[in-house]
């Protein structure tokens, strides 16, 4: 299929997944703040930090408050990763491949976009935003479900799943980071009932609470980290996401699993092995935040490699020289 088309499909699902996860981010923070016994202990800058867009934020907003952090992440059209911006980008990408995706997918994406747009026009009270965030999550699930149920599971679908799973892996790791930043401020709380509440809120935001309970029962920080990073069966766990991303990548190229033909296959294969054979004790003892940082870096490299291998508008001459790793990029380049 056309490189441009593949790229648009990949980014359509990436942006939708991103919008869903931004909603989850804000949700986890809101939950944590509500459960916080000290109302002065409002922490919104960690949230902005974890999204990676803090420089832009500080330049335009200064000190983070609940109000401006939520506005920045939800409806700010100047922030390319706000929920509204993600939906605009997803829709523009989908519009350029309407003849490839199913009309049901287009219809759902269009409805999703209109819902976010109308919410942006009448933002209302913060209390009512909780409802909005769950609508965003639901609309994203619906789009994913429709994609799975109405589109050939061929090359285009694999690109869509690849984008979604890489995005989700990245965002789940960032969600764990939110907790890390908040822990820093309240180190005394470790091991207290309040700490348990925070971990539970984190699990809920990843829709992981019930599944975690079935697997581990009691809330224990290491077990939570293990569940969100290393679990093979939970669909928002980093390990699960990367295994399915790898399956799609290999389905696209036809390379047998366990071997590689281009850099992203190599990098993703290595990362999957690390997760398969790593243990939570190794990770926490080395430092969770450092580990997550490195993980996000690797995901960016994989994204860059996918761009270079499949999407880059190379000349026939350059392609004979073989692919090279591009600068890391978290957002869509070109268009």
């Amino acid at each position: 299929m056309l490189s441009r088309v593949a790229e648009s499909i990949y980014w359509t699902s990436r942006y939708i997944e991103r919008a869903e996860n931004v909603a989850r981010f804000i949700d986890v923070n809101l939950q944590l703040m509500l459960d916080s016994p000290d109302r002065h202990d409002q922490q919104w800058s960690p949230l902005v930090n974890t999204t990676g867009d803090h420089e832009d934020f500080e330049k335009r907003y200064g000190e983070a408050t609940q109000e401006n952090a939520i506005r920045f992440l939800t409806f700010d059209t100047e922030n390319p990763n706000s929920i509204l911006s993600c939906l605009c980008a997803a829709r523009e990408n989908a519009r350029s491949v309407r003849e490839i995706i199913s009309s049901e997918m287009w219809l759902q994406l269009n409805k999703f976009f209109l819902m976010v747009k109308s919410a942006a026009q009448n933002p209302g009270e913060l209390d009512s935003l909780a409802g909005f965030f769950s609508e965003v999550k639901l609309a994203s699930h619906l789009f994913t479900g429709i994609t799975d149920a109405t589109m050939n599971h061929g090359e285009a679908w694999h690109f869509s799943r690849l984008g979604r799973k890489l995005e989700r892996a990245d965002k789940t790791s960032r969600m764990l980071d939110v907790k890390y930043y908040i822990l820093l401020r309240s180190v005394d709380d470790v091991g207290t009932p309040y700490d348990d509440i925070q971990w539970a809120a984190l699990l809920r935001s990843a829709s992981a609470f019930e599944m975690y309970r079935k697997r581990h029962g009691r809330i224990a920080p290491r077990a939570v980290v293990e569940f969100l990073l290393l679990e093979r069966a939970f669909p928002r766990a980093v390990h699960y996401c990367l295994l399915t991303a790898r399956d799609s990548l290999h389905a696209i190229s036809g390379t047998p699993l366990g071997t590689f033909r281009h850099p992203p296959e190599k990098l993703l294969g290595q990362l999957c092995s690390e997760l398969s054979f790593g243990s939570v004790d190794d990770i926490v003892d080395r430092g969770l935040h450092e580990y997550l940082d490195e993980l996000q870096n690797k995901l960016n490299q994989i994204g860059g490699g996918i761009f270079d291998t499949f999407f880059a508008m190379k000349t026939p001459e350059a392609s004979k020289r073989g692919p090279r790793i591009l600068a890391q990029s978290m957002s869509q380049s070109g268009t």
Binding site: M1, L2, S3, S96, E99, K314
Partner: protein, 500 residues
């Protein structure tokens, strides 16, 4: 809803004769509509609009915020064309396209028609769409104008005239196909009673025609549709036609030329392209050959084309024949190249470049329709009787300043078709754009886009200026009916079998 109080007025009405009786071709439809329970037609109209909305049958409007999509308004009451009348139209269009193709070929080669004084030389060279770069080129199979949409109108004298030739990138055919889809689901009974000729095999015909243009050495040609992108006003149509034909929809940046061959960038590497149905104007096709600032085109495309490694439809340079001044010479062009009289007449046209005509136009501007030679979409024109004195004076100055750029025609009383207005019918003016494909043979799609001026009294049917559309029902005569039924089934079978 009934036609009881419907006024035919001083116009030719496509559905009722001057005494208010339904024309023969419209009888089954009129009977069916009048038999509907009260409110049923309106609810069907709403159902049709809903369907079009959900299908996303939209167009973008220039001059408004980028990316604004609008629904092309649709009216349920179709325009009907009797079989005998259609046969004349079809013959006339084939004759016209045949002659225009010979004309274009001559213009870029020997220019016999200029040497023999049929078309004045200066008019040709001042035509904005004449392309010097195309001199001496030989398009595949000798065809320049593969896809044409010719605008027809009917005057109150009952005669059908050719109003305009669109030989560059005529749009609108997607609405013809979608409108028919909607109508078939809403009026299945009338369809079988009225013997309407099918239009649904157009994408297949189009693909056949495009494959016919491929270089000889290619056994299974790769056809693509080249679009300027999602911000183009006709983007929906590009995407729709690509999907219906089962070909890739590409943008300029997807293509690259190497060693005189056009390649497209795919996830599995570069793949060769043999035929391009381009929906980009000549100027933007290739920055190395035409406008150097074009970001939409493909550098080197014209080299590949001249080398015979890729076919383009329509051929670059074709636009010279849809210049509004060249239009005035078409009757003479047909006579010269084919030795025949024109079958479908032109609207009488005053050429402002000619002294005598210019004087007449300036004096009588209030009665005439004045058009800029190189504008389309209803822009750059003045409808005399519907304009103010000030507008007329202003336009007269424009014409005097640049006479070559203008033609004028008498204001036609375009025919009307009953149209739903609120809870009753009123006559609204229409034109008709049939689509013609020139491949192995010349094919005229039996139907076309009927555009309707929805504003009361308005003569401007363009979608950008408050126009809507109607389905066009061409009646089959007994011989075509049987033949097409068989073809239709064959076409359905092929579509169901899956097209790449």
């Amino acid at each position: 809803m009934r036609f009881g109080g419907y006024e035919v007025g001083d116009f030719f009405d496509e559905m009722f004769d001057e005494r208010g009786n339904a024309r023969r071709v419209a009888m089954p439809l009129v009977k069916n509509i009048e038999a509907l329970p009260a409110g049923e037609l309106l609810s069907r109209q709403q159902a049709a609009e809903r369907t079009l909305l959900q299908m996303g049958i939209t167009f973008n409007v220039y001059g408004e915020q980028a990316g604004v999509e609008k629904i092309f308004p649709f009216d349920l009451v179709p325009r009907m064309v009797p079989a005998a009348e259609w046969n004349v139209i079809e013959k006339g269009l084939k004759q016209r396209i045949h002659a225009l193709n010979l004309f274009i070929d001559d213009i870029y080669h020997q220019q016999r028609c200029i040497k023999d004084g049929v078309v004045p030389k200066d008019i040709l060279y001042s035509a904005k769409s004449y392309r010097e770069q195309c001199v001496g080129w030989n398009p595949p199979r000798g065809i320049w104008c593969h896809i044409t949409g010719t605008d027809l109108v009917r005057h109150s004298d009952g005669q059908v005239y050719v109003l305009e030739d669109n030989l560059r990138c005529p749009s609108g055919v997607s609405y013809v196909l979608e409108n028919r889809q909607v109508m078939k689901s809403l009026f299945p009974k009338v369809f079988s009673a009225s013997k309407i000729r099918p239009v649904s095999n157009y994408p297949l015909k189009l693909r056949d025609m495009l494959e016919f243009l491929a270089p000889d050495a290619v056994s299974t040609p790769r056809v693509v549709l080249l679009t300027p992108g999602t911000y183009n006003s006709a983007y929906f149509e590009h995407s729709f036609l690509a999907q219906q034909m089962g070909v890739e929809l590409v943008e300029g940046r997807d293509l690259v030329v190497e060693d005189g061959v056009v390649l497209m960038r795919t996830t599995q590497g570069f793949e060769r392209v043999d035929v391009i149905y381009r929906r980009i104007d000549d100027d933007f096709l290739d920055p190395k050959c035409f406008r150097p600032d074009s970001m939409l085109g493909v550098p080197g495309l014209m080299e590949a084309y001249k080398a015979g490694n890729v076919a383009l439809a329509n051929a670059p340079g074709t636009g010279v024949a849809d210049d509004k001044v060249v239009y005035a010479y078409v009757p003479r062009i047909i006579k010269y190249f084919l030795g025949e009289d024109i079958i479908l007449p032109n609207v009488p046209t005053y050429i402002c470049a000619e002294e005598k005509d210019l004087q007449y136009v300036v004096e009588r501007i209030g009665e005439l329709v004045v058009k800029a030679a190189n504008e389309s979409g209803g822009y750059g024109m003045l409808v005399g009787p519907h304009s103010t004195q000030a507008q007329q004076a202003e336009f007269a100055e424009k014409v005097k300043a640049n006479p070559r750029n203008y033609i004028a025609q008498p204001t036609l009383a375009l025919s009307r078709v009953p149209t739903i207005v609120g809870d009753h019918f009123e006559g609204r003016h229409v034109d008709l754009r049939p689509y013609i494909l020139y491949g192995k043979e010349i094919f005229v799609l039996p139907g076309g886009l009927t555009r309707v001026a929805l504003k009361k009294g308005s003569l401007v049917v363009n979608s950008s200026q408050g126009g809507g559309s109607k389905d066009t029902w061409v009646q089959a005569d007994s011989s075509t009916a049987e033949r097409e039924e068989a073809n239709g089934h064959a076409a359905q079978a092929v579509m169901a079998g899956g097209v790449r």
